[in-house]
Amino acid sequence: MNSNTPSSSAGGPGSADATAPRRNSKRPKYSRFTQQELPACKPILTPKWVISTFLLVSFIFIPIGIVSLFASRDVVEIVHGYETECIPLNSRNDKVGFIQSDQDKTCIRTLTVPKDMSQPIYVYYQLDNFYQNHRRYVRSRSDQQLRSPGNARETGSCSPEDTTVSGTPIVPCGLIAWSLFNDTYHFTSNNGGQIPINKRGISWQSDRERKFGRNVYPSNFQNGTLIGGARLNESIPLSEQEDLIVWMRTAALPTFRKLYGKIEVNLRQGDVINVTLQNNYNTYSFNGRKKLVLSTTSWLGGKNDFVGIAYLTVGGLCFFLAIVFVLIYLIKPRQLGDPSYLSWNRNPGGH
């Protein structure tokens, strides 16, 4: 190295001076970041803090839970399963055979309104044990094809329902569209008057505007040997085929409801509604069930006690914990940060 390096053997009083400039130049630039000295707040779990947190949580949660529960209870819901009832008695041994036959599947059910229902009343169909989330199923669609007429040939992901035998593309392709739900419902009131179902606006607006093309028309749909579900009117563009749009918003769980339409009149308690339905859809092969649901909504959505109950449970639990901690604190106080708890301080022979 260089000669001004101080070495003990060089001796002399000059060496100290020689190092002075070096020291300064090599000193790292000071910053609080590099020196890890940023101001920090270091909260610790003091009893006061923890107990008040729990109390606060419980005081917030219990009211929310009650409000949610009331909201859910306010929702009036009519759920009517019909998958067995709509099979003629003589066919009940062979439901699958019946549903696949060409027999008339019209079925009439009666519903009684348990409470006043104010419009809009949503009409859903509920399927159980239907795996819309099955891997083969859920990917079997082509969003490009749905969006624009130029992409009719984009059927790569749609197998096995991608093209006809001759190779012309099916629009809309894929298993989801192919298995479109095809039960239909008509409501008449007891006095014979029609209860109209508004089927417009049941799908997401964004889907109608962006995902399903205005000038994409169904073609070759349900033309194969195997017929899945509903057929589509080839003169109506996809963006207006709202049943299809709703159906293609696949469900995450095997039990799901899909919007069928809206009833825009109020129903009175005790009203009897006659439902004329076409029981077309085959859920019998896989022991699926079908339900017709009429429901009002609250600010939280449909009838669902879970949220309210969960809130009450959590709130109650927090309250309970807070009480327990208070008791422990009172019965067995413990000085925080008491050094005498350090094991090495307890060791009598220790340092």
Binding site: M1, T5, P6, S7, S8, S9, A10, G11, G12, R22, R23, K26, R27, Q35, Q36, L38, P39, K42, P43, I44, L45, V50, T53, F54, S68, Y124, F130, Y131, Q132, N133, H134, R135, E161, W178, S179, W204, R210, K211, G228, T250, A252, P254, T255, F256, F286, W299, G301, G302, V307, A310, F325, K332, R334, L336, P339, Y341, N345, N347, G349, G350
Partner: protein, 969 residues
């Protein structure tokens, strides 16, 4: 691990089985490899630059009588190298000629062994003797226009050869992560097999009935494998791809912090600490054994003459410094014969070179620090060594010059333990032998009749003060006796076989019948703060081993003076020595027995072993010695060779201890490489050695803090992994995330990554997974059961929970932490809003819809409360009623209470003082050498997000497997 990811990535390409878009694996994988490749490339480039600098250093070589300047890498065997003063020796060399008329060349070997004294190299009479190699890296100093012939080049140099092959150093965290990864993998395989079988059964019994799925009648032969493999892919998220890279980045960041740390900067020279191996810094907190070199590491290697004992009088006892002792000064001025002789020996009997600078002041270049100390002290006492001119030595006593002719130098060797010089008084013509050496080498050779007992007592007294002692003696020689001897000496010196031994024998013939003049006591100053630091670290449960080439007594004294071992009543030293197997064996067993007995007592027991016995012990009694090594907290190994140092490290490592080796010299290189953590003291010159102790210790204390930080960083990283995995925005979120490790530092409280913490986290993540899952599917049931929405709700739930988990686990919030935690949360929403605004994305409008729904926010709050409530309660309970040492210290610190018992750390000297607060916190973490779950819920979140993911994945990326999952549940 890398193979694993590669396998996963390849599986992803198989579209039949891949449940998610392959881009979701490949994107991050490519990004991550790009990042790590960039880092490696940068490291390599820097290494290349420094290599290049070393290789291209210009060296003069002599060819056909002319001097040429060539690059160091072009030196070949047989070249003549011409070095100037202060040049670094580029390779192993043999000295052929020097500017000094006597053919003496002085070299400094600080780079090799940390010793800063000059070593003489003579032009060999016949160019034989491997002794004269100037080892690579030695600096040719003083009068050294040496013509040197190259005897080896490049990696064939001794240094190159003794270096050994460095093993890659794996840190404990790495190792643990590897183990845990293995465990996760096994778990994953089990899950995959179970679910795979269930899935296949379900498919055959149920799924074929789902007409809308249209299962083909006949599947390919591998059909059975498809479902398990799919599950494997889903589960692959359990081991985040980013873990390796984030680890690396975090590590290099810590290394940077070490580099940056002000407190580890040597105040005297301004040389900063530098972490060369970026990979191991977080291990510093887990060290259990510290093996340290003595010279230059513990001690400053700066000797100061402190006391002396001349003819029955102790000087310097009163004020601790003989140079200012009035009595001695009086004795000097009054011309007391003994004292004057004593001073003469001090001034002459050495190989020091005085260098007169232009302004007349004299500085000394000495081979040994001891000699320099003596000469300087003599000069202060008016016996000034003025000049050395050829064989003539000029000294000045009270301004009257005296000249001596040096006839012979009987060099110091470690066997003889003394050196002598034969001089002839130029005026009187008397021939005098002047000797100095260790007490055991001088006192027995006193002339019959002289009372050596008082001297022995003086030596004893000084030794107990931790001073190095030298006995000074002289004898007047008869002319004939000398002439006779000189012939023999010359003969011995030029003999080719056993030269060293013969010379020693001849010297022996002259060195007898000494008249003992006195005892000089020299202090080898310890580095500042060494005793305190060692005390602290020992309290922290670190085990210290001192490995030194010094002799036993010195080593023990140093050990005593730096608190290595406690003095008698409290501590006990057990010696293991002996030259034969039997002796060593017996000794070893005795020591072992004592150890076992005393291990329960709060008594410091240390053993001392010398190199010879160590050799035997390692060879024949390895097992017993290993046990001893485990039992004893302190050991002193003296007279050990570099390879023995390395062997010891290996021994400790084989018992699964984390070792840290500190050393500054070339002879420590093996040891440093072998140890889990090597702390090399850079700079290696002169005063900078002074910073050694602070430096290395500072490193340890500074970085044990980081240990937890790295874990925290994983956590945050994982927090963001969902974002990453989530939808389309991998790169974007990844970059934001990459900044988090930097942000999250300075979290105090050490934690250990170990199986039980791991289990704790595993349990917690399982719990959180269940909470998120159940709450989501129940609150988003029926008409709200839309795939994109549900997956987004679950994902947000994970993010929220994780933000709170991190917040709960963070001990110290700086603004950066807030940015990291809450910024992450905000970032999640921002990113998803952006993605939701893109019509082409799958989740178009989803996030906006969700954010408008009160039920979404209600669900989030529910998830957070449901997930965090029990965790907080448990943590609070543990914290307050089952608190670990760390917790208590934290509490004490925050409440401003006394940090008590650490009080004894407080009297620490300078730079360490600043380290105090972190030190006090980091202390307990090292207390127990075994992996004790100090904080079993440490933020090792390896699994944290694992479970949520595996379900989340299935959920967001749909597919039957998920629903089967539920079904199976």
């Amino acid at each position: 691990m890398n193979q694993y990811f590669l396998l996963i990535a390849c599986l992803q390409l198989w579209s039949l089985i891949t449940p998610v878009n392959p881009a979701s694996t490949w994107g991050p994988l490519i990004f991550i490899f790009a990042v790590s490749a960039t880092k490696e490339a940068w490291d390599d480039y820097n290494r290349y630059l420094s290599d290049k600098k070393a290789n291209e250093k210009e060296v003069w070589i002599v060819r056909q009588g002319t001097k040429n300047l060539i690059q160091a890498q072009d030196i070949r065997v047989g070249n003549l190298v011409w070095l100037r003063e202060n040049d670094e020796v580029p390779c192993d060399l043999v000295l052929l000629g020097a500017a000094d008329p006597q053919g003496i060349c002085y070299v400094e070997t600080a780079a090799l062994d940390g010793e800063t004294d000059l070593k003489t190299r003579l032009i060999p009479p016949a160019c034989v003797g491997i002794d004269f190699e100037l080892l690579h890296k030695i600096k040719a100093r003083a009068h050294a226009h040496a013509h040197i012939s190259t005897i080896a080049s490049c990696n064939e140099t001794k240094l190159g050869m003794s270096r050994g092959i460095p093993e890659p150093k794996l840190t404990a965290v790495d190792a643990m992560i590897d183990k845990l990864t293995g465990a996760i993998f096994v778990f994953q395989i089990v899950v995959v097999i179970v679910l795979g079988i269930a899935g296949n059964v379900w498919k055959d019994t149920e799924a074929r009935k789902l007409w809308y799925v249209r299962y083909p009648k006949e599947g390919p032969w591998y059909e059975l494998l498809v479902i398990p493999l799919r599950f494997e892919l889903l589960c692959s998220i359990m081991i985040p791809i980013s873990i390796k890279v984030s680890l690396d980045l975090v590590k290099s960041l810590y290394a940077k912090f070490i580099d940056w740390d002000d407190q580890m900067v040597d105040l005297e020279t301004g040389i900063r600490s530098h972490a060369a191996n970026t990979a191991i810094s977080e291990d510093l907190g887990q060290v259990e054994y510290i093996l340290t070199d003595k010279t230059g590491t513990l001690t400053e290697n700066k000797m100061i003459f402190k006391r002396c004992f001349v003819s029955g009088t102790f000087y310097g006892n009163d004020n601790g410094d003989a140079l200012t002792d009035a009595e001695l000064l009086r004795a000097v001025s009054s011309g007391s014969t003994d004292v004057i002789r004593f001073l003469k020996v001090m001034a002459i009997c050495n190989t020091v070179i005085p260098v007169q600078s232009k302004n007349g002041s004299i500085s000394y270049k000495a081979q040994s620090q001891d000699e320099e100390a003596l000469v300087r002290a003599a000069a202060r006492l008016h016996m000034v060594f003025v000049n050395k001119n050829g064989n003539f030595v000029d000294i000045k006593f009270n301004a009257s010059p005296i000249q001596y002719e040096v006839l012979d130098i009987l060099e110091f060797t470690s066997d003889r333990k003394r050196m002598s010089i034969v001089v002839k008084d130029s005026q009187s013509g008397k021939i005098i032998l002047l000797s100095k050496g260790a007490d055991e080498a001088i006192l027995p050779h006193a002339y019959t009749g002289q009372q050596v007992r008082t001297y022995a007592e003086a030596v004893e007294q000084y030794a107990q003060l931790g001073l190095r002692t030298l006995c000074l003696a002289w004898r007047e020689l008869e002319d004939e006796e000398y002439q006779e001897w000189a012939v023999m000496f010359k003969e011995a010196n030029s003999s080719l076989v056993d030269r060293e031994w013969r010379v020693a024998e001849v010297c022996q013939r002259l060195e007898h019948d000494f008249e003992i003049l006195g005892v000089a006591a020299i202090e080898d100053r310890l580095q500042d703060g060494v005793p305190e630091t060692i005390e602290t670290l020992r309290k922290a449960g670190l085990n210290f081993w001192m490995l030194t080439g010094d002799k036993q007594n010195t080593a023990i004294q140093i050990a005593l003076s730096c608190n290595f071992v406690s003095p008698e009543p409290k501590g006990q030293l057990l010696m293991i020595n002996g030259k034969t197997e039997d002796e060593v064996c017996r000794n070893l067993e005795r020591v072992l027995l004592t150890m076992r007995i005393t291990s329960s007592e709060p008594k410091d027991v240390a053993f001392v072993i010398d190199g010879w016995a160590l050799e035997i012990a390692l060879k024949h009694y390895r097992k017993a010695f290993t046990e001893l090594a485990i039992l004893s907290r302190t050991a002193i190994c003296c007279r050990v060779t570099p390879s023995q140092k390395a062997q010891l490290v290996e021994l400790l490592k084989s018992c699964d201890y984390r070792t840290l080796a500190i050393g500054d010299g070339g002879n420590d290189v093996r040891m440093i490489q072998q140890a889990d953590i090597g702390v090399g003291i850079s700079g290696r010159e002169g005063l900078q050695a002074a910073r050694a102790a602070d430096y290395s210790i500072g490193r340890v204390s500074g970085t044990s803090l980081f240990n937890s930080v790295s874990l925290m960083a994983y956590n945050v990283f994982y927090t963001s992994v969902p974002v990453l995995v989530s939808v389309l925005d991998k790169d974007l979120s990844e970059t934001t995330v990459m900044q988090h490790p930097q942000i999250l530092f300075y979290c105090q409280a050490g934690r250990l990554l170990n199986p039980s913490t791991f289990a704790g986290w595993f349990g917690r993540s399982l719990f959180h997974a269940i909470v998120v899952f159940l709450i989501t599917i129940h609150s988003y049931a029926f008409e709200k059961s839309e795939m994109e929405e549900v997956s987004m709700v679950a994902l947000s739930g994970c993010i929220w929970l994780q933000a709170f988990v991190v917040a709960l686990e963070t001990n110290s919030f700086t603004i950066l932490q807030h940015i990291a935690i809450w910024g992450n949360l905000v970032g999640f929403y921002v990113i998803n809003w952006i993605v939701s605004a893109l019509p082409s994305s799958g989740m178009y409008t989803i996030m906006f819809r969700l954010c408008r729904q009160p039920s979404y926010w209600i669900t989030m709050i529910l998830i957070v409360a449901g997930g965090m409530g029990p965790v907080l309660a448990l943590k609070y309970f543990r914290y307050t009623y089952r608190s670990s040492k760390i917790n208590i210290l934290q509490q004490a610190e925050r409440l401003g209470g006394p940090i008590l018992s650490l009080g004894n750390i407080e009297p620490q000297s300078r730079s360490l003082e600043k380290d105090l607060s972190p030190l006090s916190i980091s202390l307990p973490k090292n207390r127990n050498p075994v992996y004790e779950p100090l904080l079993s819920d440490s933020p090792n979140s390896t699994r944290r997000s694992g479970v949520p993911f595996d379900f989340f994945q299935s959920q967001s990326r749909l597919s039957s497997s998920y629903s089967r999952n539920c079904k199976d549940n």
